[in-house]
């Protein structure tokens, strides 16, 4: 197992290099001159512009820029934005917001998705089952920015239950954006749990559990659920990675100062170092959670072993 994890981590290095290069090249290819745009209506003096270009290696060809950037990364230097602020500082400041948002979303989808999925699975073909089917289909078909505005309008403005935007109310501020961010996965989890449970309830070992005199709660809650939740737990793991990187739109709608907002702003002002730094972090998170899921898979299902 330790060898398996080590091998996966080694494999992550080329993936990270490839990902950073692609992002780097895309920022490089963006039209417009970020340095000239810095001054807005009153352009900076040509000498200052030239000095900035030199400082940020913008006069070098793409491969050289990239190699210099990676060289800095290896020494723990994530580069700076055009105002001279280190990217590592931006990440440090913004990361907690995004993590909190992702965790609230994860809690939402795990709790409500599982409950809905389990109830629908146990009462297969009942009214509740159909209700879950219809409502999850509805959620999946609504884009998150529409859902965001609907949530802001009804729960925030009309009912006044939750803060509409910003971070002024502590954890409360995360509830509505967390729900909007997690809604899509909530629907997937409900469906996945239901299908998996219904499928597993048909298995022979369920009959064995009944024949042992176990209560229905134990037959379903222990024997069947333990098997049914394997795909769900792995989905949740991968999804946490997706939630962190997928927060760009939600953070925008709810005006949360997280990493998603930072990337969005940085793309607009062509702050290459900021975009590449944060997106690389997303890629890293994604790789790590994927590895975590694979390890978790082996822990949950004894039939799976890594050499």
């Amino acid at each position: 197992m330790a060898r398996y994890i080590a091998r996966r981590l080694l494999l992550a290095i080329p993936v990270l290099l490839g990902a950073t290069f692609l992002i780097f090249a895309m920022v490089f290819a963006l039209p417009g001159d970020p340095i000239r745009a810095l001054g807005g209506d009153r352009p900076l003096a040509p000498a200052v512009q030239e000095q900035l270009r030199e400082e940020y290696n913008l006069n070098d060809p793409l491969p050289v820029q990239y190699i210099k950037y990676v060289g800095g990364l290896v020494q723990g230097d994530f580069g700076r934005d055009f105002s001279g602020r280190p990217v590592s500082e931006i990440i440090q400041q913004r990361l907690p917001v995004t993590i909190k948002l992702a965790l609230v979303a994860l809690a939402f989808e795990a709790i409500f998705g599982l409950i809905a999925g389990i109830l629908a699975g146990i009462r297969n073909k009942s009214f509740f089952d159909s209700l879950v089917l219809v409502s999850t289909t509805l959620i999946v078909s609504i884009p998150s920015f529409v859902l965001g505005f609907i949530a802001q309008y009804t729960f925030g403005l009309r009912l006044g239950l939750f803060p509409i935007a910003g971070l002024n109310d502590g954890l409360q501020s995360y509830l509505l954006p967390g729900f909007v961010l997690g809604a899509l996965s909530l629907a997937y989890i409900a469906r996945l749990t239901r299908t998996s449970l219904v499928e597993n309830l048909r298995n022979d070992y369920v009959r064995t559990a009944k024949a042992k005199g176990l209560t229905p709660a134990s037959v379903v809650g222990k024997h069947t659920l333990r098997n049914s939740l394997i795909p769900v737990v792995t989905y949740l793991g991968v999804d946490l990675g997706t939630l962190m990187s997928g927060a760009i739109i939600t953070e925008g709608i709810f005006n949360l100062p997280g990493l998603g907002r930072a990337v969005f702003d940085a793309i607009a002002s062509q702050e290459g170092a900021v975009v590449v730094g944060i997106v690389t972090l997303f890629v890293l998170v994604y790789i790590l959670f994927n590895l975590l899921v694979d390890v978790l898979y082996a822990a949950l299902d004894p039939r799976i072993r890594y050499e």
């Binding site: 022979d204 070992y205 064995t208 009944k210 024949a211 005199g213 176990l214 333990r226 394997i230 039939r303």
Partner: protein, 341 residues
């Protein structure tokens, strides 16, 4: 051996047999119509006795076992008539909790395919030990200790080291031993073995049957052996009940039935076995296929495949009647059939 006298633990409780199945009906209500899986079967089982229920796939033998265990998939399966009495009290009218308390404790079952019948994500020790935790309130440690003892009893080598292994780490024969250990954990009065050796190699089959016979001798439990393997029946069953289309069509002491069947279907089964003294000759299968249980033939359900059928057979359903003492047959011409042997 007749049913009421031969239990090692003495006479049946108050003259009542351990298990009485009385005119049991089971049907499955599917989208394609009602499937009549079990149509009025009756039999009794005493302590220490082995009753074989013999029949082709789909004749209702496993369904009747699941009805006794109370583990029919319902819906679509429903018991629509009859009684199943354990020591005189009807299982079908008991509360759900009373029924659950009997399952595993008094009546146990070993299923056909041990790999799919064991839960893949729990260790075999946990699954065997669960019997003690559920019915005896044992602690985790005690349950594990008891599981190791049981694994030794069904002769799983190095039980102590293997108690934490998972089902997929065992061979087919060993897995079936785990199933048996689980079923006999609480010394049940009745063990139902539902085709316990069908999924196994021939050599392993013999070992498992020997184990079952030996355990039965030790504990004096009543054994219901559901099978389509005539060889197995001949070796260990005291009595045999032959099922066809959800009914018992012949029953009696195994030796008597095997040497002189009183029902053409049983005759056909006997004739279809490969025998050493007929080496090189063609086997004689029963022609045709088992009937569709959703749409049974009129009269005797076996008449379309029966070499002895007459014009009378499609018109009346033959009841299960005593031909000679201790022998029952559901054939209009039972005496004639019996005389021919």
């Amino acid at each position: 051996m007749t049913s009421l006298m031969t239990s090692p633990s003495g006479a049946p409780v108050g003259g009542v047999p351990l298990l009485e199945v009385d005119d049991l009906y089971v049907e499955f209500r599917t989208d394609y119509g009602v499937v009549h899986a079990v149509n009025g079967i009756s039999y009794t089982l005493s302590a220490g006795e082995t009753l074989a229920i013999l029949g082709e796939s789909g004749c209702g033998k496993s369904v009747s076992a699941q009805a006794i265990m109370g583990i029919l998939d319902s819906p679509p399966g429903f018991v629509t008539g009859g009684e199943i009495r354990y020591k005189g009290s009807n299982l079908l009218t008991m509360s759900a909790k009373e029924q659950r308390d009997l399952r595993g404790e008094e009546i146990s079952i070993v299923f056909q395919d041990a790999l799919s019948s064991l839960n893949p994500v729990f260790s075999v020790g946990a699954q065997i030990g669960e019997m003690f935790r559920r019915h005896r309130g044992a602690s985790r440690a005690d349950a594990k200790k008891a599981a190791i003892e049981l694994m030794e009893r069904v002769r799983i080598p190095s039980a102590k080291e293997r108690v934490n292994d998972y089902p997929h780490q065992f061979s087919g024969g060993m897995r079936q031993r785990v199933m048996i250990a689980m079923a006999i954990a609480l010394d049940p009065a009745i063990l139902i073995a539902d085709e316990p050796t069908t999924a196994l190699d021939v050599t392993v089959q013999a070992q498992i049957m020997d184990l079952l016979a030996e355990l039965q001798k030790e504990t004096g439990m009543g054994l219901i052996l559901i099978t389509h393997d005539l060889g197995v029946v001949g070796e260990i069953a005291d009595r045999v009940a032959v099922m066809y289309a959800g009914r018992i069509v012949e029953t009696g002491a195994t030796d008597a039935v095997f040497s002189a069947p009183a029902m053409p279907y049983t005759e056909g089964l006997m004739a279809s076995i490969a025998r050493v003294d007929q080496k090189g000759q063609r086997l004689n299968p029963i022609v045709g296929a088992p009937p569709n249980l959703a749409n049974l033939p009129s009269g005797c359900p076996f008449h379309p495949r029966c070499p002895r059928a007459t014009d009378y057979c499609p018109t009346a359903l033959p009841p299960l009647l005593e031909v000679v003492p201790g022998r029952y047959s559901a054939c209009h011409y039972a005496e004639e059939v019996l005389r021919d042997h």
